[in-house]
Symmetry: C2
Subunit: 442 residues, 2 copies
């Protein structure tokens, strides 16, 4: 058996402790699988005195993660601190410069500096593995980087944030409001005290940028002009209910799609047909769907977060290093990655769900339909419910009070739809700018 593979582990939060527990529990088995033992040699964490329930006897403590990263007694630096810059960035750079392999769960760091760090890793001939950075325990990095090496991917789309999926599931199943769901998710520990990073879609965006780079061989690009992000804060129970009636569910998806003009990356609430497998992913679970030319369609489903599931991916990455596997970070040389050129916004055609607050006046509906027709937008469904009769006689006010109308369009572009809706608003037939949600088929 070869010499031990020695780890330096920076960050002893939930994931770090799970990694320690896993190595303690399955160390013998892992050694048999890898042909060598994996050993935590050094750690770094804020509070040394805290009892974490794991045995740290014989492990070296560092105050400074950069010093830990340079420890001559470690072979692999495991970064579990988080953060796009600061100590995480400095220590990962230091480790790579010192010729150490790096395993990280840090999506923010890679979304910001991934290409540069990949180049550095390749120059030094070490691994930079990050399975845990996207979709927790799901082996999506390995699948895109290795298993699908023979495919040209056309789309990768996923439920990449468990908090948002939990909330949307609860809103749908229990008819709860957005605010009630958020409070519940916070109480259960699924959402942070400041939930904006999750519910505004930025967490999903970081993960999507990594998946897009792996899928399409383009540089990681999470800049706002290359990756449109819309969170779930504007989704209402009414949207969810209307979607349900029309055979759809609303999911927050990160979608990267290859178009003739470039790679389109977007994060937004999406209508998915109820019959699709991805529509049925409930709760804090994540799922990633891949469309590729030879394999056709793959779907991977599993836990997107949690200490143990994330530790499973971290240790999978460590096992690859222990077994002597070396791959380029993004599945091809970082120097050969193509620039990520965003196409014109909304170039990919899709159907849309549109919710309008229409003034109930003669001709209103004809005028709306005409504006759609002018831009060659055909309608697949129209749902307009008669209001419940009122006890009092109709008044002039009642006649012009807006009533909800739901449209499902056939394929069009977002630019055409937005143009039509702008004109409908200008015509004065609707009370507010109509809401629309893109439909994605699987």
């Amino acid at each position: 058996m070869q010499a031990n593979l020695r780890l330096g582990l920076a960050g002893l939060g939930t994931v770090g402790v799970s990694v320690m527990r896993l190595l303690a529990k399955h160390g013998d088995e892992l050694a048999e699988r890898c042909g060598r033992r994996v050993q935590v040699r050094s750690v770094c964490a804020r509070d040394r005195s805290r009892d974490r329930g794991v045995d740290l006897a014989g492990v070296n403590w560092f105050q400074d993660p950069v010093k830990l990263a340079q420890d001559p007694n470690i072979d692999v630096f495991v970064e579990l601190m988080g953060g796009a810059g600061g100590a995480a960035e400095a220590s990962v750079r230091a480790a790579l410069n010192a010729g150490k392999h790096v395993v990280t769960a840090n999506k923010a760091l890679l979304a910001a500096h991934g290409v540069e760090l990949a180049r550095l890793a390749e120059e030094r001939g070490v691994s930079l593995n990050f399975e845990a950075a996207v979709a927790g325990g799901i082996p999506i990095i390995k699948t895109l980087r290795e298993a699908l090496a023979g495919n040209q991917v056309s789309r990768v789309a996923g439920i990449l944030n468990g908090t948002c999926n939990y909330m949307l599931t609860r809103m749908e199943k229990e008819g709860l409001s957005f605010d009630a769901c958020l409070a519940e998710a916070q109480r259960l520990g699924y959402a942070e005290a400041d939930p904006s990073f999750d519910i505004d879609g930025h967490d999903t965006a970081h993960k999507l940028a990594l998946l897009a780079s792996l899928a399409f061989g383009t540089e990681i690009n999470a800049a706002p002009d290359a990756l449109r992000v819309e969170g779930i804060t504007r989704i209402t129970s009414a949207d969810i209910q209307a979607a349900d009636e029309l055979g759809y569910r609303i999911k927050l998806l990160g979608i990267a799609e290859k178009t003739a003009a470039g790679v389109e990356q977007r994060v937004h609430p999406t209508m998915v047909p109820k019959s699709s497998a991805i529509a049925r992913i409930d709760g804090v679970i994540n799922a990633v769907a891949i469309d590729a030319d030879f394999v056709n369609k793959l779907l991977l489903v599993g836990p997107g977060a949690g200490g143990d599931a994330t530790a499973s991916s971290v240790v999978g990455d460590i096992a690859d290093i222990a077994r002597g596997t070396w791959l380029t970070t993004m599945g091809r040389p970082a120097t050969k990655m193509k620039p990520s050129v965003p196409p014109n916004a909304a170039s990919v055609a899709a159907g849309f769900f549109v919710r309008l607050a229409v003034f109930d006046r003669p001709g209103a509906f004809a005028a709306i339909a005409t504006r759609m027709a002018e831009r060659a937008i055909s309608l697949e469904s129209i749902v307009q419910r008669a209001r419940a009769p009122r006890a009092d006689a109709p008044t002039a006010h009642d006649k012009i009070a807006p009533q909800p109308v739901i449209l499902i369009t056939y394929e069009t572009t977002e630019a055409e739809l937005k143009g039509a809706l702008d004109q409908i608003l200008a015509d004065g037939h609707v009370a507010e700018m109509p809401r629309y949600i893109r439909i994605e088929t699987f």
Copy 2:
């Protein structure tokens, strides 16, 4: 860039031709990913004159696959002929003995000789990769062998045969009989002229034996005393309809489960709750569900067959070799694999669906319930429909004509259930040995 990786490809059927097409279409991209070009140097197929629509100019032809396997001009032998022995076995052995890497899609060969071939590959320091042998384009081998290296797996269960899943789906959705579905599947090319290998469950069994070995570190064992196999030929529309009414679907699953007494491997029609993701895998699609201690639950869904999807996996295996990745065949040294000791049959507790043809006589039902209670089998549901009233008056004959009763039991063992049903039959209250189908939860 390193020297080309030179392939010798034995078998130019659907999969072989797809591999050639893939390499022609994505050769440049693959070379960039792997740092070297992958080149088909030699091939072997029965009929040299047939036009396969792929360019074979400059490729060496061999009559004998064993000679191809020993060709000094190849680095990797790609076996796509099939068959548990014969030319496939002889040529794979020859390739390994000659120090060539082997990539194969041949589940039957590995189910029969996998441990021995793995040892041989490890002695020679070459790869024996077989992603395409199980679940077509789904990267399940890579997931179990690499990504989940840090986990202890407790169960792996899958829809591993597209033909059977297509037939069960059609029986359910269209109410077709088994025979009508089989004829349709044959017409569409989803089932062979002799379908017994698929519908009797043996194809699933071979794949399951490979998954079980990877999951549990035991030697591959597809012998009848270690792997119980029951196909779908006895499933009727009545079973499917009764399952549907009780909230279940019937799927042919291969299930390997770790028990205190050993690894239980079984292939049989299984009732799965409609709410589970695996229940919703329709048509020729495959799916594999893994339960493991750190990742908890993973589900992988994708095409289980077809030339292109299988080629995707074959080329993924080739890419690993091109990139210099070397792993033991079954994820740990073949010399360290534990013997596969089958536990006592039916030791894992489960709920069961039971269909009885009960004679409509006073006391019959009480007697049946008593036999169940004697073996501590509790009943979760009982469905007994009143028969439609008949125009003619009840006769003695009518009174004793059997009527269908469906029971769903709580957890028990198959041995206890079978004991109770044997007694119920002996008591004379049922017209035939009751049918039962195991319930599996996900």
